[in-house]
Subunit: 121 residues, 2 copies
């Protein structure tokens, strides 16, 4: 029944292993999760943002610090921190005129660790 539905949706023309397509459909990740996962990985997929996150693993830093470290403009850093904030990867703490940024949780570090394992094999 389910199989029939999917078959008709696919026009049944070039599908070689129908049962695998059906299975893939059943195990499909919800669209919302796909979008959010993609956004997360894409956000971590920019060298500038990646360096920012890596630096924040050690200690919280202000925009000036990060800009000096990366040798890029403070505006560029601020733009990227905005992206990281939206994705809930970093959070900030104000102390006077200075905003200290930090990683929100351990997930970023763990993702780094896993990804480095993949690269170094």
């Amino acid at each position: 029944m389910q199989l029939q539905t999917v078959e008709s949706e696919l026009c049944g023309c070039r599908c070689i292993h129908e049962e695998r397509v059906v299975q893939a459909n059943l195990n499909q990740l919800p669209d919302i999760d796909v979008e959010e996962l993609a956004r997360l990985f894409k956000t971590m997929g920019d060298p500038t943002r990646l360096r920012i996150l890596w630096a924040l693993k050690e200690s919280e830093m202000c925009v000036c610090d990060i800009a000096a470290f990366l040798k890029v403009s403070e505006s560029a850093v601020s733009h990227q921190l905005r992206n990281l904030r939206i994705l809930t990867l970093v959070a900030s703490r104000r102390e006077g005129a200075i905003l200290y940024y930090r990683l929100v949780d351990e997930h970023v570090s763990l993702l780094f660790q896993l990804a480095l394992e993949h690269i170094h094999e």
Copy 2:
């Protein structure tokens, strides 16, 4: 000494927490790793590629299967599989005219798992 060097490199103008910048420099990830990590995350950061990887978690599939499942052209799938191959995220096995694609190792699944944890909190 080290501190002095870094200070001069930074022009010493707007750096607020010099010791943190120095520390960040010491803990810096090698450029090659940064580039490869970014490439890896960026590659996983596209919805189409992400769906492909997710589907391959379950079973190996050929290009036709994936195209049918995603409801996109086989050419688009082939282009994306090429990217995934370059990043060593998928590998293929030929059986006659058909190429079966699979995940290379468990890293992708683990990355998904961690990333989903981050999203769902």
